[in-house]
């Protein structure tokens, strides 16, 4: 029993050190650390500060803005651009993929895969900006 108790105490100390390392890694990450052992969504956002709201606000609340805008658009015909899905897509489609779904590099799908949250906007909505929506050949099977 005594040995086991000592072992438990040692285990706690190891765990505390590990937690400290993770916390340090986390703070380093917050300060734009280039590499980390924590897997992150491999998406790149357009330039900081160009979004319609703060990044932190958008991370937590983008879905609320979209639902609000969607009801105003469908039922009242208010088609302001600021919080519209088409406006999001036109900026976030990005030059790498040209779409917001279809791969883990795509802005919407990359983060939604990481967070394991189902993304079904693009079963109906266009996942690429207007200019390329008709020009690009649609992929077989469509957005997942």
């Amino acid at each position: 029993m005594r040995g086991a108790g000592t072992f438990t105490g040692r285990a706690w100390r190891v765990a505390a050190k590990a937690a400290l390392v993770v916390a340090l890694a986390g703070s380093a990450l917050a300060a734009d650390a280039p590499s980390t052992r924590v897997p992150l969504p491999g998406v790149t956002a357009p330039a900081e500060g160009t979004c319609v709201e703060d990044t932190e606000f958008m991370r937590r609340n983008h879905m609320r803005l979209l639902v609000h805008q969607r009801d105003r658009t469908v039922h009242e015909g208010i088609r302001t651009e600021k919080h519209s899905l088409a406006n999001c897509v036109s900026c976030h489609a990005g030059s790498k993929t040209g779409r917001v779904t279809g791969s883990k590099d795509a802005f919407c799908e990359g983060c939604h895969r990481y967070a394991a949250v189902k993304l079904d906007c693009f079963e109906c909505h266009a996942d690429r900006p207007a200019a390329t929506a008709s020009a690009a050949a649609p992929p077989a099977g469509g957005p997942k």
Partner: protein, 242 residues
């Protein structure tokens, strides 16, 4: 593109531009001044409608149908189950006289599709446009059964290549939206524009509630027909010469 085609395109472009110009004093093809502020909701002061003159509608012309397909990103290769928002119908009366008319959602004032919808997805907007909110539609197709005009379609297959302004997907019912995305920006429906570009100008679009509008004047002064008027649904799409 040959030079002949270029010339033809130029004429079509002029035709589209001229469509908005006064044809005679007080007579325009459609009302341009229906713009509202982008933040202002659709109002019941307006009721959008169409008047189709069948004397000008040719049976071999389907410009309105192809314009609708293009505008709304509907599949151009039709199968038995493809969605169809507008179609050309041939009617033959007892004397053998044939009439060709475009048939689409009639945007009823008393829409049966709205009455039967179990989720409230099928609704009538304040300005009289009957729409499906696909976020709420469960695809039960009750509205398709209720519609006497067979105006609605169910999307059976996964969709690709949607237009950003016209989202559409498998599992929902859909129909003519009167090109609501264009109307909200002060435009006119694609079929009306295409019909004008052919030079036939068979479809007149406008505000039925405004007594000064061309469509209201014509409805007041000429004999117009509502299809299945016996159902008293008060459709927003009227026909002349039926």
């Amino acid at each position: 593109m040959s030079r002949v085609d270029q010339g033809r395109r130029q004429i079509l472009a002029w035709g589209a531009a001229m469509a908005g110009v006064a044809l005679a004093p007080g007579v325009t093809l459609f009302d341009l001044a229906h713009g509202r502020a982008p933040t202002e909701p659709a109002s019941s002061k307006v009721r959008w409608g169409m008047l189709v003159d069948l004397n000008k509608c040719a049976s071999d012309c389907d410009a309105c149908v192809s314009a609708c397909d293009k505008e709304n990103g509907l599949p151009t290769e039709k199968t038995a189950t493809s969605a169809q928002w507008i179609r050309k119908v041939e009617l033959k009366d007892m004397r053998g006289q044939v009439r060709s008319l475009p048939m689409m959602c009639q945007h009823c004032a008393e829409p049966p599709c709205v009455d039967v919808c179990p989720t409230g997805a099928s609704f009538k907007r304040a300005d009289g446009i009957v729409l499906v909110d696909r976020h709420t539609c469960i695809g039960c197709r009750y509205c398709m059964m209720a519609c006497p005009y067979k105006a609605r379609s169910f999307v059976h297959e996964p969709t690709t290549g949607q237009r950003p302004e016209v989202p559409r997907g498998k599992g929902c019912v859909e129909s003519c939206t009167l090109c609501v995305h264009r109307i909200d920006r002060g435009g006119i429906p694609a079929c009306v524009e295409a019909c004008a570009a052919t030079g036939r100008q068979a479809i007149l679009f406008g505000n039925l509630n405004d007594p000064e509008s061309e469509i209201a004047k014509r409805v007041a002064s000429y004999a117009t027909t509502a299809v299945r008027a016996d159902l008293r649904l008060d459709p927003g799409v009227r026909y002349v010469g039926l």
